[in-house]
Amino acid sequence: MGRFLIRRFLWMFVVLFVVSVITFVLMRLVPGGPFNNSERGVPEAVRRNIEAKYGLDQPLLNQYLKYIGDIVLPRITDETWRRSLTEDYLINIDLPFLGEDAAFRWMNFGPSLRNRSRTVNMIFTDNLPISFQLGLAAMTVAMAIGIPAGIISALRRNTWVDYTGMGIAIVGVSIPVIIMGPILQYTFAVNLGIFRPTGWGTLDTMILPSFALGFAQSALLARLTRASLLQVMNEDYIRTARAKGLSERMVILFHALKNSLIPVVTVLGPLFAALLTGTFVTETIFGVPGMGRYFVTSVLNRDYPVIMGTILLYAFCLVLANTIVDIVYAWLDPRIRYD
């Protein structure tokens, strides 16, 4: 188990390294740069100077190494530090026992090239929590609706409950956020006036986007839970449990459910990842001030540090989610070998 964990974590960093290289290369292959848009009419010499200030005149390899170095390498300094555009760390831990201003500083994602006076870390700390909240809220919606619906459908198989539930599920799968969004907005915000159509932070603005994003995934979860539980109910150990005289409730609660949730747990990682990236669409429709807006504009503006930072951070979440799922999977099902 120990070796398995170590291997999984090492693999995580290899993947992140490859992702960072591909993103960097792809991003720099896009013609144009952050400072040469013609409509603002920046003189050639000025543009060169600005680019030099941000190190964009250096060879690409040096730029890449500096960028990654700033993120990966932690710094322990005892200098008085003032947050600046080029020096802004995501993680700052004071070390009072080493000196008055000594601190452990880590993860400098660099400045934003287009949102002057803001660093990528500021964008992260301001907007990322909102995207995360939305993703988590949607995941809660998906699980709270999907798993119970799947269990009920499986236990009442081939009854009207099952047919209705699965009918709703298949319809739900066909509704992406861009359809669900306007319909929910119109029905509940414009027509009934229960919620507000756009915004974020209060309950009456958070429910609609969470539901719009989570509903399609809840349908997937319901179908998966149902299929898995039905399969488990045919296993020999369920027959054994019944044979030894356990009540149906005990059989389902203690024998069937735990095993049937294994496949469900394995999709939770990719599910959260899908929801997290899915927040981009939802944010646009519901006017949620998350990361989505920044990413699209940063790509169009060639704001390199923002593009890199966002993709790396999301890739990290994806890889972490998948790794955790792998570990939970191995832990839940003893038949899985660790190598």
Binding site: L26, I178, G278, L318
Partner: protein, 349 residues
């Protein structure tokens, strides 16, 4: 106990009935077709798709107006019945703001273009994505899966690690980056160059070539894994050994013997992903990186409409319904096809 007992009671009579009927030799496809016909939802799906195909082909005849025709004085007008469906749209006569114009079946958008005509023309985009989108993904996915499964060893290892790495990419973000890359790369190409030719093709397709490429390059991984798994399972079959002993070459075995045997699985998997491709296109058009305006895409129409959802809900809701119907149809047809072609997978996701 009750559950298991019921199941026996349900299945046994039909099994007996099956045994009693004299065995008729039917091909896999005839058998599948028979099963598909019995699936009412799949047939409804197929009919919706058929109607959609007819709409796309005969769009110039069916649509009352051309999709780009603007009558600016008619902007944001709606026919009377629409204002009854959406109670928030209060007409001018009733003291509201909606101007009535019954010439437009579903209303006109903020540029005075007929919504109904744009929805009809929009079906061309979504159907092209549905049928051509998977081709790009299939081309990459099948190739990678075939090579990995057939050769095994370090090639397999390398390709599968690439697949793993691709999974780590936030797909939507990568698509956005790719689309920006494609668009900017061919922004001002020199005539005669490769980029120029690609840009010409893309222009002629209304910006769809890049949509296909972007979607294809980010959604081939599932298929690659599936094909590899299938190849691994047929690789050791006797008929492959027989073919090999008859002296069939690598390419012959791959394309003549292995691929046809796993084609059913590939078709099922791709049909089930079509809704995903459609929603990708809608999303890309939604954020303005999809098809070039004024080519109507339902995603772009929803995007334009949703900015005025509280005043003119019809501009977002009608394209949303159209998109929903098509995705719904492909989902049902895909499910039906899966059950028909591979009864073992019934009810399993």
């Amino acid at each position: 106990m009750a559950v298991a007992h019921n199941q026996d009671a349900n299945t046994t009579p039909s099994n007996i009935a099956k045994l009693k009927t004299p065995h008729k030799g039917t091909s896999l496809w005839a058998d599948a077709w028979r099963r598909l016909r019995r699936n009412r939802l799949a047939i409804i799906g197929a009919i919706i798709i058929l109607i959609n195909i007819l709409m796309a082909i005969f769009a110039p005849q069916l649509a009352p107006k051309y999709y780009a025709t603007q009558v600016l004085v008619d902007n944001d007008t709606a026919p009377y019945w629409v204002t009854r469906v959406f109670p928030s749209m209060v007409t001018v006569e009733e003291g509201g703001y909606v101007r009535i114009n019954n010439d437009y079946l579903l209303g006109a958008d903020n540029l005075g273009r007929d919504l109904w005509s744009r929805i009809i023309y929009g079906s061309q985009v979504s159907l092209l994505v549905a049928f051509i989108g998977p081709l790009f993904a299939a081309l990459i996915g099948i190739t990678v899966g075939l090579v990995a499964g057939y050769f095994g060893g370090w090639i397999d290892n390398l390709l599968m690690r690439i697949v793993d790495t691709m999974y780590a990419f936030p797909t939507l973000l990568l698509v956005i980056l790719l689309m920006a890359f494609f668009r900017a790369s061919v922004a001002q190409p020199e005539p005669g160059s490769f980029a120029f030719n690609v840009a010409q093709i893309d222009q002629r397709m209304g910006g769809m070539l890049f949509v296909f490429m972007g979607i294809g390059m980010t959604s081939w991984m599932n298929l690659a894994r599936l094909v590899r798994g299938q190849i691994l399972s047929v690789r050791e079959k006797e008929y492959i050994e027989a073919a090999r002993s008859l002296g069939v070459g690598t390419r012959g075995i791959m394309f003549r013997h292995m691929l046809p045997n796993i084609l059913g699985t590939i078709i099922i998997a791709e049909t089930l992903t079509i809704p995903t491709y459609i929603s990708y296109e809608a999303f890309l058009s939604f954020i303005g990186l999809g098809v070039n305006p004024p080519v109507p895409s339902w995603g772009a129409m929803i995007s334009e409409g949703s900015s005025s959802i509280s005043t003119y809900p019809n501009q977002a809701i009608f394209p949303a319904i159209a998109l929903f119907l098509v995705m719904f149809a492909f989902n049902f047809l895909g499910d039906g096809l899966r059950d028909a072609l591979d009864p073992r997978m019934r009810g399993v996701d």
